[in-house]
């Protein structure tokens, strides 16, 4: 059973989340303060973190940064504010996805399941000198492994699978994040930036993940 760490200071909401998630077949750890997250995280590493933005101790965005320093675990932020600033800050801090309160429980479970899904496939993809091992979930550049979050790996793999095809942000949102309806395209922009900062030699002149102006993104051409 996957272990989900729920970080929320609202006890009733935390309990309700745990009821819903347990009902969906997950194990739940509850934490009600931002500064207590890492203690539990170290002793009992979760498969996914559900993180509220407003927290006593350290706020959710800080917690997100601290977790990202040592782990590639999927993080989903819970925010009461749909406001641009908060969402962008959360994504830049390393969150994979976010949910705006109030959300429907089915939606939350679906979103968590997408993040937990390990779509292990056989085969190796390449973009230029970048080797993407789908079996091992590894990305190698010059035989050195690059640590990517699962979401970043999925994003890169999705692009590499069909070299030359231009993916719109909407298509990526549905293929990588599992959104059924149109959602916030900033999710894609922020994660492409994060991915580039890890794999590209020069993030301003990318060679692996290219922007197609006004349309979306595509994988860089494979050199022979």
């Amino acid at each position: 059973m996957p272990l989900v760490m729920v970080v929320d200071d609202d006890q009733d909401l935390a309990e309700m989340l745990s009821i819903v998630l347990t009902g969906a077949g997950m194990e739940v750890d509850l934490v009600n303060r931002g500064d207590l997250v890492m203690d539990l995280f170290n002793t009992n590493p979760p498969d996914l973190v559900l993180l509220d933005v407003m927290l006593p101790g350290i706020d959710g965005i800080e917690v997100c940064k601290i977790i990202r320093e040592k782990s590639m675990v999927p993080i989903v932020m819970l925010t009461a504010k749909g406001d641009t600033q908060d969402v962008v800050l959360g994504l830049e801090a390393g969150a994979d996805d976010y949910m705006i309160k109030p959300f429907k429980p089915q939606e939350l479970v679906a979103r968590i399941n997408t993040r937990l899904r390990r779509n292990t496939k056989v085969g190796t993809l390449t973009i230029a000198d970048l080797v993407i091992d789908q079996m091992e979930h590894k990305v190698l550049k010059n035989n050195k492994e690059i640590a990517l979050t699962r979401l970043e790996f999925d994003l890169l793999a999705a692009l590499a699978k069909e070299p030359g095809r231009v993916f719109t942000r909407e298509i990526l949102l549905s293929e990588v994040w599992g959104y059924q309806h149109a959602a916030d395209t900033r999710l894609v922009n922020v994660h492409v930036q994060r991915l580039r900062s890890k794999i590209e030699s020069d993030a301003d002149n990318p060679e692996y993940v290219l922007t197609v102006r006004g349309v979306g993104y595509k994988a860089g051409s494979t050199k022979i």
């Binding site: 609202d10 009733d12 909401l13 309700m16 989340l17 009821i19 819903v20 009902g23 009461a80 504010k81 749909g82 641009t84 309160k101 109030p102 959300f103 429907k104 429980p105 089915q106």
Partner: protein, 515 residues
């Protein structure tokens, strides 16, 4: 150019008027002084010369009278002495002496006659000579003295008669040149003109200086007021003296401070109020999330419930949906109030967006709609999400009020604008209600049951969204004839609406009336 400056600048106007007045006054004074002085100088000279000349003539006459008894030689000598001394005196004072015999007298003696060599005798007018001959007194007259070498001088004549015994009557004329006097007068005129000019200049400069001191604070006040109007509430006048102008500045600054305080207070109040609405909306979200999840969990298990409990769980879910909608609408409204709404401008096909919205609202009942649109794409610039929200509001509004009648959606474009008309044939509304339709939480008939799940904010938000695009959203309605909402947007973002491709009054309304 001068006219514009005259109208615009108070100081220019004042200086201009003062200069004109000064010139007039100095001219009048100068001219008066000049005339007085010049006439005094000339007349004095004439009067003195006249007295002197008549004295000299009297003396000469008495000499001649005495000399007649000394014989001809004595008389001749006396006459010649007189002529010589007259000339001699004249060479110093610039006086010319002319002695002419009065004709037809005794011719047996010497006829004395002397005329200076270069003098033109016509300098003595004939009429004056006639007057002198017929008068016993010494006479004077202003004349121009001509010389045969072409020179001429202003001057005057003094004429009298002499009786030389045994010879007869003679006219004697003294010609005085006045050029020295006129030169002095010219010098005085020049001095007067120069003094007048200097006076005008001095007055103009000092007026300008004074005006500057008076007007500078006024100009500064105007500049500060201008900046104040443009929103710089912190601008104040600089006060450097303690006179009336300083009190103007002080009053002005006090007024500015008071206005600034009022504005700050109002801004604070409205900011607090907006913050409050926004905070409330946010704070409500967490309990609402718990509520929703709890309700969903209960709803999941409704199969095992008593029918009343099961129905209750359904109602609970519906009301939570409605509550959530209301909350997000409230938050949107508070964003508009805080002017924090941002536009994400993209280019898109409005035709496609309308169809997508219709499909989204009524996927199964698309036969409810008659859509007439141009066959090709209608591309416009705008925030697609907001425009979709406007359309969704208008169309769902029409669905709610159409009583099941068909709804006509029309898209029409002109060169720079595009209109979307949504016409329903349902309940409609009173003409007088049209202005309130877009008010928050407004209801046409408060007693009427609310059938729709609308929040009461939909049209208000639609109008705000339209305004953000500098578009127009207008409504037409008649009771039981339905309503017609027309959204008109500029095709290019930043332009405003100049024409309306769709008329607000629906073309079928007259037809309906007759029916």
């Amino acid at each position: 150019m001068l006219g514009i400056k005259f109208k615009q600048s108070l100081s220019f106007k004042i200086i201009f008027i003062i200069i004109i007045t000064c010139i007039a006054i100095t001219s009048i004074i100068g001219l008066t002084v000049y005339q007085r002085v010049s006439s005094t100088i000339i007349n004095e000279k004439i009067a003195i010369s006249k007295v002197e000349s008549s004295n000299a003539l009297n003396v000469a006459q008495s000499h001649f009278n005495i000399a007649r008894f000394q014989g001809d030689t004595g008389l001749n000598k006396a006459v010649e002495d007189f002529i010589a001394s007259s000339r001699e005196d004249g060479s110093i004072s610039g006086r010319e002496t002319v002695i002419l015999p009065i004709s037809n007298s005794n011719k047996k003696l010497n006829i004395f006659q002397t005329v200076p060599s270069l003098l033109v005798l016509n300098s003595i007018p004939r009429e004056f000579r006639d007057q002198v001959r017929n008068s016993k007194d010494v006479l004077e007259k202003k004349v121009t003295i001509y010389y045969s070498n072409g020179k001429k001088y202003p001057g005057f004549l003094i004429g009298g008669t002499l009786n030389i015994p045994k010879s007869g009557a003679y006219e004697i004329y003294y010609l005085f040149k006045l050029n020295a006097q006129y030169q002095s007068i010219a010098t005085i005129a020049w001095t007067l003109t120069l003094a007048g000019f200097l006076l005008v200049l001095l007055i103009a400069l000092s007026t300008r200086f004074l005006l500057r001191r008076v007007i500078a604070p006024v100009q500064q006040a105007a500049e500060v007021a201008e900046r104040f109007t443009q929103g710089d509430l912190s601008s104040r006048m600089v006060i450097s003296s303690e006179d009336e102008m300083a009190s103007l500045g002080n009053s002005f600054n006090e007024m500015a401070s008071s206005i600034q305080q009022q504005i700050d207070r109002l801004e604070n109040l409205s900011m607090l109020q907006q913050r409050f609405v926004s905070d409330v909306s946010h704070e409500l979200r967490t309990p609402l999330t718990t509520l929703r999840m709890a309700a969903e969990v209960i709803y999941e298990g409704k199969a095992s419930f008593d029918p009343n409990v099961a129905r209750s769980s359904e109602l609970l879910i519906n009301q939570i949906d409605r509550f959530e909608l209301l909350l997000s609408d409230l938050l949107e409204v508070s964003r508009f109030d805080a002017e924090a709404a941002s536009l994400g401008i993209v280019s898109f096909d409005l035709n496609y967006l309308v169809r997508k919205t219709v499909d989204y609202l009524h996927p199964s009942k698309s036969s409810l709609f008659d859509i007439s649109a141009p066959p090709e794409a209608v591309n416009i610039e705008g925030d697609a999400r907001r425009i979709e929200r406007i359309l969704r509001n208008l169309i769902s509004n029409a669905i709610d009020h159409s009583k099941g009648n068909r709804i006509e959606i029309q898209i029409k474009e002109s060169e720079n604008e595009v209109s979307v008309g949504v016409r329903d044939h349902g309940l409609g509304f009173e003409e007088k209600d049209a202005p309130y339709l877009f008010d928050r939480f407004w209801r046409a008939d408060p007693s009427r049951a609310r059938t729709s799940g609308g929040t009461g904010l939909g049209l208000s938000i639609a109008l705000e969204d339209t305004k953000l695009h500098q578009g127009q959203l207008l409504a037409w309605g008649r009771p039981n004839q339905g309503a017609h909402f027309v959204l008109t947007l500029p095709k290019q973002h930043g332009n405003s609406v100049q024409s309306f491709p769709i008329n607000l009054e629906p073309t079928d309304s007259n037809f309906k009336n007759i029916k």
